[in-house]
Symmetry: C2
Subunit: 139 residues, 2 copies
């Protein structure tokens, strides 16, 4: 199997693993990523900040935040300085969901790491870096 297909296959398996880990905590993988980002930005983030960090289209963020606010995972901050900007922070419920999810996530990363030999991991890091840079530069 070509390495490109191997990467896509592995990513799909990782995506499923993410769903498996996060769903007991009432989160999707993307929603966990949002909370994870907000855990590092207590003052809040704008929708455009999140779109850039998640590498997704800004139009995507609108619905994502709407659902998460509806679930009570996020709080919206009043922004009197520039009323175009929509700033969100995580709520108490969002923090409560994130904590055990993050614990399981870290645990899973360690477990996955343990199946790799140091040599293969180093090679993979180099190869993935080379490929990703080639794809971005080719754009």
């Amino acid at each position: 199997m070509h390495i490109v297909l191997q990467i896509v296959t592995a990513a799909r398996a990782l995506e499923k693993e993410g769903k498996r880990i996060f769903s007991p905590h009432g989160l999707t993988p993307v929603q966990f990523n949002v909370l994870n980002l907000l855990s590092k930005h207590p003052a809040g983030m704008r929708a455009s900040d999140l779109a850039r960090a998640l590498i997704v289209d800004p139009s995507n963020v609108t619905g994502l935040l709407k659902r998460m606010k509806h679930e009570g995972l996020l709080n919206e901050i009043e922004n009197t300085a520039d009323r175009r900007q929509h700033v969100v922070t995580w709520s108490a419920k969002g923090q409560a969901a994130w904590k055990p999810a993050h614990r399981d996530y870290e645990r899973s990363l360690v477990a996955l790491d343990s199946v790799l030999t140091p040599v293969s991991r180093k090679g993979a890091e180099n190869a993935l870096k080379q490929l990703t840079e080639a794809l971005i530069l080719g754009k």
Copy 2:
């Protein structure tokens, strides 16, 4: 960056590259995969065959094939033996779309291969295999 995130990032970049390559041919990446499979199965494939090969839920295939038939990319085969089974083949239009798409796809694989050193590729192959097997066995 953790290798798991590197894989997901690389896969997303590859997905975008796939869209870029296939959209001029009027195809999405998944639609190309369907035609690619049908190119190896001239007698046709059942919806459940495709779901298994694409590693996708059967319910997904219904809409996918419906859109492709509507586009004229596929033909439906009458199956008198077992009327539950829905067998499709590629149409002339499907073949015409696949040929240049496949040429561009192969060209892209060669280009991506060329940015990898043999050592890093070998390491990546091993690492991805180790990870994917661990994820599947863990299920």
